[in-house]
């Protein structure tokens, strides 16, 4: 077990260059002999698998969907950051680095973030070369928009479908390697456990989701690119299948879990409409560029939005945070919405919603259009019509999605939005090389804890996933494998494979034999409710203690009363879900434990005990300037290890967006 962050010495802006200059290399003939397992084909996994395949390694890639192109990254909407400074608005590698460390509320590792900012620019180059159709200006050059928590325009986008276009780029690179025989793709496969031999990761056990058979796969190294665990809350903006299983199994085999309680609650999602709700839909943060958020100034105002006059509206973000206004970071915007709704100013039938209004944007853009047309006599109505067309070009698909879900027309009345669970900053603890505390086991993308501290800035998850896969792991993996070239493929008849497979199969048998009375879904919903109420947007010691007890009880009940239909050796989505929910329950407990232990507020983690007089989050750098890295010790038993955070460049200060 190695719990050393391995941050290279030297100046911050030289660390990565130095590292690359001195890293061990694997020669081409040896690469062909080395097998690598990549679990997940989202941005992190697809980019890693494609790049490693191109380099000559033999790669096996896994995903649970029917095609790698459907990984959850496909759903990302708003954009991807890069320090290109194409807009000449003062952006630089340093500024992106600084914004990300500050945005993360000083709980990220500086060296990792700096590397991320350094490679950001190459990501855009790579994607454009692959044919990713980013938005462009009339001159043919790339267009940018701004995102929350920054004052420059550095976000590249493809309408509201940026994740789709980036993933299809990475997917095409991956499929090219499949065609060349460098990557073997295992779709509809779910990793069930990692196999360790001599304390090194040497393979996985996967379930073929079509036949139900368990399979053993050897690899000289295993890369987990399995995404985030927001679905522990049941309702989130994540895809239905997103899960923690791969990461959790690795955790139970010795990989420390970093900052599990750091969850991002996204301010702009379509509110819950009923008990049957299966997931929540994000309305991209990019909308905050042009939409203004408000609630009525009067409590319990039941009038329609359009009947509420300008002076009766409270644009509370602009009021509280004049410098950033509607573009404050996500954690700040979410808490502000909760505060207004808790105080009784919420709108809509549930009163758990605020307005996101485009009225002013329609007018502003419309007047610009009239100006372009040299039209000086146009009416306001004409301007609004023109403005709506401009907004449609920018966000058309989001407006359409909103309309389909709510049955309301957002061009005519403001959107109703509310915060929802969106992203998990926590994840498997990794060192600078993206290696977990288990040798040969790596974690990339949302699955690791690394770059976003306690709050992720918009448009930086896509950047991190692709940075990890295209530009980091190709170097750092070689540094490990260079010492492993002598290891021949280990046959999967090895006792360690047999034993792990047996354990997996026993667990499946146990689950199927419970034959209880309650559905998997009902347990998942109950877990979600506990997590949302007691480990959600605001947390306190009492609630967290209660949550831990409740989750332990829920776990006992699950393992004695869950009802799973179908067979083991056949396609069985209920069984797949049961395994995932069982892991979420265990994770939920650890998240509450972590939240309880961290008695400070930082980023998305808001402890009610730790706030300023005006209700802002209060960090405690003296006592909590560390990464929590939890070590699994047995059932409901963890040990906390701390990685101290040293800030060489960005001196922590109380974050202010006022």
């Amino acid at each position: 077990m190695s719990f050393d962050s391995k941050i290279p010495t030297g100046e911050m802006n030289e660390k990565w260059n130095d590292y690359k200059g001195h890293v061990k290399l694997v020669n081409p003939a040896n690469k062909r002999k080395l097998e690598i397992i990549v679990v997940g084909t989202g941005l992190a996994g697809a980019s890693a698998a494609a790049s490693l395949g191109e380099m000559g390694y033999k790669v096996k890639a896994f995903c649970f969907q029917d095609s790698p192109r459907r990984a959850h990254s496909i759903a990302a909407q708003g954009g991807i950051n890069a320090a290109k400074n194409y807009q000449n608005d003062g952006d630089s590698v340093f500024r992106l680095f600084y914004d990300t460390v500050k945005g993360g509320d000083y709980r990220a590792r500086e060296a990792n973030v700096h590397r991320l900012a350094e490679v950001s620019s190459s990501i855009i180059d790579q994607c454009v070369a692959q044919g990713v159709p980013f938005a462009r200006e009339y001159g043919g050059l790339l267009s940018n928009r701004s995102f929350g928590g920054t004052q420059v325009q550095r976000t590249f986008y493809a309408a509201g479908q940026t994740g789709q276009q980036l993933l299809l780029g990475a997917y095409s690179a991956l499929e090219r390697q499949v065609a060349l025989g460098n990557v073997t793709m295992y779709a509809r496969h779910e990793m069930q456990d990692v196999v360790l031999i001599d304390e090194k990761a040497r393979g996985i056990i996967a379930r073929n989701l079509v036949t139900g058979e368990l399979e053993k796969h050897f690899g000289h190294a295993v890369l987990l690119c399995s995404g985030g665990y927001g679905n522990v809350f049941y309702l989130s903006t994540n895809a239905m299948g997103s899960n923690v299983t791969a990461a959790w199994k690795a955790h139970k085999k010795g990989a420390f879990f970093g900052n599990p309680c750091f969850t991002q609650i996204h301010p702009t999602c379509i509110p819950v409409s009923g008990e049957y709700q299966s997931k929540l839909t994000l309305m991209s943060e990019s909308l905050r560029n042009d939409g203004r958020i408000w609630v009525p100034k009067k409590k319990d105002d039941n009038r329609k939005a359009i009947d509420i006059q300008e002076e009766e509206r409270d644009y509370y973000l602009e009021r509280r945070y004049p410098a950033f206004g509607n573009l404050v970071p996500r954690d700040v915007a979410s808490r502000a919405a909760k505060e207004r709704c808790d105080e009784g100013y919420g709108v809509g039938t549930t009163k758990l919603a605020v307005y996101l209004d485009f009225k002013d944007a329609f007018v502003r853009y419309g007047k610009i259009e009239q100006g372009k047309q040299g039209n000086t006599t146009g009416t306001l109505e004409e301007a609004i019509k023109l403005g709506k067309a401009v907004v449609e070009e920018k966000y058309g698909n989001l407006f359409e999605m909103y309309g389909k879900i709510t049955g309301e027309n957002p061009y005519e009345m403001p959107m109703r939005i509310y915060p929802a669970v969106h992203y998990t900053m926590g994840g498997l603890w990794v060192n600078y090389e993206l290696q977990t505390t288990v040798k040969g086991l790596y974690a990339l993308g949302e699955a690791n804890f690394s770059d976003h501290g306690a709050n992720r800035l918009g448009a930086s998850a896509l950047m991190q996933g692709l940075a990890d896969g295209y530009f980091v792991i190709p170097y750092t993996l070689g540094n490990y494998l260079a010492d492993d070239i002598g290891t021949a493929n280990i046959p999967t008849s090895h006792p360690a494979f047999e034993a792990t497979e047996k354990a997996v199969s026993n667990r499946i048998d146990t689950l199927m034999n419970i034959k209880g009375t309650k559905t998997v879904e009902s347990f998942h919903k109950r877990l979600g409710k506990i997590m949302w109420e007691k480990c959600g947007m605001a947390r306190n010691a009492k609630g967290l203690q209660e949550a831990i007890t409740e989750i332990q009880e829920l776990k006992r009940e699950f393992w004695s009363d869950v009802k799973i239909s179908g067979e083991i050796k056949a396609m069985n989505p209920e069984l797949d879900k049961a395994g995932r929910v069982a892991d979420f329950i265990e994770l939920g407990e650890l998240m509450c434990k972590d939240a309880l232990e961290r008695n400070e507020s930082c980023g998305g983690h808001f402890r009610e005990e730790s706030q300023t007089d005006d209700g802002e989050a209060k960090r405690d750098d003296v006592n909590f300037s560390y990464v929590s890295a939890w070590e699994f010790r047995g059932e409901s038993n963890w040990q906390l290890n701390k990685e101290p955070l040293n800030f060489e460049i960005v001196k922590p200060s109380q974050r202010s967006y006022k």
Binding site: D66, S122, Q130, A135
Partner: protein, 254 residues
């Protein structure tokens, strides 16, 4: 928007696996809210089936917001159901009324064999992409992104073609089970962009050859694909593919 509840009869295709025969089975669901999505209605039905000790209905789904392309149901004779430019996961129950009978089947195509119930195997699409749906550029070989200005019109058109979600509704909707709309979308995207030029000819030839191998049918220009495509992929892409194919065929013959 006014909400209402409804009771419905569902006739759903049940098929144990690829080898067995399937049939339509009837189910009753009660108190379905008009605000639910179609898949949430299926969740309710599945919970009911599990509680009754029956096998729930298998169907593909993941993002539930119309972008991953997983969901695939043929509803009352239409791919993705009654709304146009829409996926099943975005279809909401306000499209139906109390007392309706709804027939739900999988995509039907020789190239998309049924795995179970409403789930089909669409890996043929991946193999078509493997045949040439990419630009051959290794990681790290790219030049600065803005060194390559692209006419906004071309970029926008490429984006519109690239919006395809690979769901396969075009194939399901086509009487010939043709995959032309899907293939043409990728061919068009890459042939519109300067980066796509070096492999322009081999790409279209190889992708079409793979499509033929996968036992998709021929295109007879009925445009049912465009009508049912959730992303509004235009049949003008098919015209472009045909042109590209002809040019590439001619130049390789020389």
């Amino acid at each position: 928007m006014e909400h209402y509840n409804m009771n419905l009869t569902l006739k759903v295709w049940r098929q144990k696996n690829h080898h067995s025969a399937g049939t339509l089975e009837s189910y009753q669901v009660k108190d379905i809210s008009s605000e639910m999505s179609f898949l949430e209605m299926f969740d309710v039905l599945n919970e009911q089936l599990i509680t009754d000790g029956k096998d729930p209905i298998a169907f593909d789904h993941d993002c539930r917001e119309g972008i991953c392309g997983s969901c695939s149901m043929y509803i009352d004779g239409r791919a993705h159901g009654p709304w146009t430019k829409n996926t099943v996961c975005q279809l909401h129950m306000r499209a139906f009324k109390n007392g309706d009978t709804i027939v739900v089947e999988p995509w039907r195509s020789k190239a998309f064999p049924v795995i179970k119930d409403l789930m089909v195997n669409r890996s043929a699409f991946d193999r078509i992409i493997q045949a040439g749906g990419y630009i051959s550029v290794n990681t790290g070989n790219a030049v600065d992104a803005n060194s390559l200005p692209i006419d906004k019109k071309d970029a926008d058109n490429a984006f519109m073609a690239a919006a395809c979600i690979g769901c396969g509704a075009c194939v399901a909707a086509c009487i010939n089970s043709s995959a032309m709309l899907f293939v043409s979308a990728k061919v068009a995207q890459l042939s519109l962009l300067p980066q796509g030029q070096p492999e322009r000819e081999s790409r279209v030839l190889n992708m079409v050859a793979q499509m033929d191998k996968e036992s998709f049918g021929n295109c007879s220009n009925t445009y049912a694909c465009e009508a049912e495509c959730p992303k509004g992929i235009s049949v003008s892409n098919i015209a472009r593919l045909n042109k590209e194919y002809l040019t590439a065929g001619l130049s390789t013959e020389q």
